[in-house]
């Protein structure tokens, strides 16, 4: 089926309800743009000006960015002394950390939920219940033992180690995948089985392609989560500070006026712009899902 035909078939004329939705969405968008523009403008103010001019345009435009970038470092001990990790390196660590963890933390729930949703074994029910319990049960004071276990397995202070540590099936995306797999008609796999396809082939050639949009969406959401996560790197990656880690260290800083709102907004923009770019690029990828309907044919 061609993309064109598909898109025309889902197109709808405006109705009163959709007009209302449009208005609401426009209001929402205006609000958000206002917030973002305000943050951006704030990042171009000096903090002396910001005191008296919170909402207006900057009277004097100040380039806080090079200053903040210069301060956007985290000191880490190295064999020869202390090394200040600059923003560029933190950016790289962030990409590795968030990218790898997003992949494993998406793949494992995807496969596990596939097994639970599509195979008739009771064990699947157990897994499902475990996921629900783990989502609710608050665990207190487990960090020391988590660190200990990470060290035992040699995962501590290793980016790849965190990929494995984050590769669990727990959390809401297990349920999302579970729902998606449950919803897929049985006919597909049955037909493939009759054609003599093995389990592996069914998984990789039929099922995964069918959920690829969900997969990429979840992975993107996970990526963003890991990108903004400073707590894990703060504890587990002392030698590989990420940009979120750097941002957190900057926000607790009291030196050089870094704790003022304009400086914090500048730091926030430095964290926000790259991920926003990634998001806009992948936005296309997500939109592509509209062409993959029609499994029932």
């Amino acid at each position: 089926m061609s993309k064109k035909a598909n898109s025309s078939s889902t197109k709808t004329r405006f109705t009163p309800v959709t007009v209302v939705i449009l208005v609401l969405l426009a209001l929402y968008t205006a609000f958000l743009i206002w917030l973002l523009v305000w943050s951006l403008l704030t990042s171009f103010k000096s903090w002396e000006e910001f005191r008296l001019n919170v909402l207006g345009l900057p009277e004097k435009w100040v380039w806080n960015y090079s200053f903040v970038l210069g301060k956007y470092t985290v000191p880490v001990p190295s064999a020869s002394g202390v090394y200040n990790v600059p923003y560029g390196m933190m950016f790289l660590y962030s990409v590795l950390y968030a990218g790898g963890c997003a992949f494993t933390a998406t793949l494992v729930p995807c496969i596990t939920s596939y097994l639970c949703a599509r195979f008739p074994y009771k064990f699947g029910k157990v897994v499902y219940t475990v996921v629900i319990i783990a989502m609710i049960l608050p665990v207190v004071g487990n960090l020391p033992s988590e660190i200990l276990v990470a060290k035992t397995f040699g995962f501590f202070d290793q980016i790849w180690g965190l990929w494995l540590m984050k590769a669990n099936f727990l959390g809401m995306y297990f349920l999302v995948f579970y729902g998606v797999f449950k919803g897929l008609p049985k006919t597909y796999t049955e037909a493939a089985k009759i054609d003599g396809a093995g389990n592996l082939a069914i998984l990789f050639e039929i099922m995964l392609p069918l959920v690829k949009t969900t997969f990429f969406t979840v992975m993107l959401i996970n990526f963003i989560g890991f990108w903004n996560d400073y707590q894990t790197p703060l504890i587990y990656l002392p030698h590989y500070p990420t940009v979120a880690y750097g941002m957190q260290q900057m926000s607790v800083s009291t030196e050089y006026g870094m704790s003022t709102i304009p400086m914090r907004m500048t730091g926030a923009m430095l964290m926000f712009i790259p991920i926003f770019a990634v998001f806009l690029i992948f936005q296309n990828r997500l939109m592509a899902n509209l062409t993959m309907g029609g499994i029932k044919e």
């Binding site: 008739p120 004071g141 093995g198 907004m265 993959m292």
Partner: protein, 304 residues
């Protein structure tokens, strides 16, 4: 389950495949969940003495104390109220709006690409930054605007206790559209175009299409989010830490925030009672979640 298995002829190769793929997740879970948290779970039955650095077993004492605290103190009952209120508000406001927004995007109505990006945007920005921005808006910009328009001095919307919870929930709901909207839109994208085409020919369009075709077809995804929401009643901090640090006013505090603060600020000697409270929450919440799921599945719209 039985008929399913038999009908499709699952055999030992299937079992082998199942075990092979399940091995890693289960192993990972045993080490990084059970292994790591085991001691913490035992805490609910222990007592720790800082002065002597010793741990003793106390049976169900902690559980009894935790029960009293949870169900018999006004503080915790109030937290229960706000936790359920927060869920209720996101349920009756957040979910319908997310669904309608997704519908708009799915229908590719004008500027839907832009809206989609804008809906998702807040999820991209770290909460602490987003809260700072929002806080300025409601605390400074809104009063400033009112002052300019009506020459009236009003308090900030979070400063004012009457509007505080509403402002915080507004933040949580509005900034929380992103993920459900995208997931719903994805699910809607999975609906066969022929179906809506056929509906259109029969004159089913707009809101009727939404209720009679779109919603039933993506219902499993909606259920997932609602079920996750139920679990969230007991864990959602509604971003209070970003707004207030350790000093959130009582007329906003939820279970999730309360537990987080107690754990973060408390000392080891205070963990056992918190662990016990955690157990109680789990005992209440897990059956509740599963029941809600069953009910939603039973009484939801059918796909036919």
């Amino acid at each position: 389950m039985k008929k399913y298995g038999k009908l499709n002829g699952y055999n030992k190769w299937d079992i082998a495949f199942y075990i092979a793929l399940m091995a890693f997740p289960v192993l990972q879970f045993c080490i990084f969940y059970i292994g790591v948290n085991f001691n913490s779970l035992l805490l609910a039955f222990q007592k720790f003495d800082v002065a002597t650095n010793t741990t003793t077993w106390v049976g169900f004492d902690n559980l009894i104390a935790a029960f009293r605290r949870m169900f018999m103190t006004s503080e915790m009952l109030r937290a229960a109220g706000y936790s359920f209120l927060a869920y209720g508000l996101s349920l009756v406001i957040g979910t319908p709006f997310s669904l309608l927004f997704s519908f708009y995007i799915y229908k590719k109505l004008p500027a839907s690409g832009v809206f989609r990006a804008m809906l998702f945007l807040p999820s991209v920005i770290s909460a602490i930054v987003m809260v700072t921005m929002f806080q300025f808006f409601v605390e400074r910009a809104v009063p400033d605007l009112v002052f300019r328009l009506f020459n009236l001095r009003i308090e900030g919307l979070i400063e004012n206790k009457a509007t505080r919870f509403a402002a915080i929930m507004f933040y949580n709901i509005v900034m929380g559209f992103g993920i459900p909207s995208v997931m719903y839109a994805n699910a809607m994208g999975g609906i066969s175009p022929e179906l809506s085409e056929a509906a259109r020919l029969e004159g089913v369009e707009g809101i009727r299409e939404f209720f009679y075709i779109t919603l039933p077809l993506i219902y499993p995804t909606v259920v997932t989010f609602l079920v996750v929401g139920v679990a969230g009643i007991f864990t959602n901090q509604i971003n209070l830490y970003s707004f207030f640090g350790q000093w959130a006013p009582g007329n906003t505090v939820t279970y999730g925030y309360w537990l987080y603060i107690e754990t973060a600020a408390g000392d080891r000697a205070e963990y056992p009672e918190l662990a016990a409270i955690g157990l109680w929450l789990t005992l209440v919440a897990v059956p509740m979640t599963l029941i809600v799921k069953k009910l939603l599945e039973k009484f939801g719209p059918s796909e036919d």
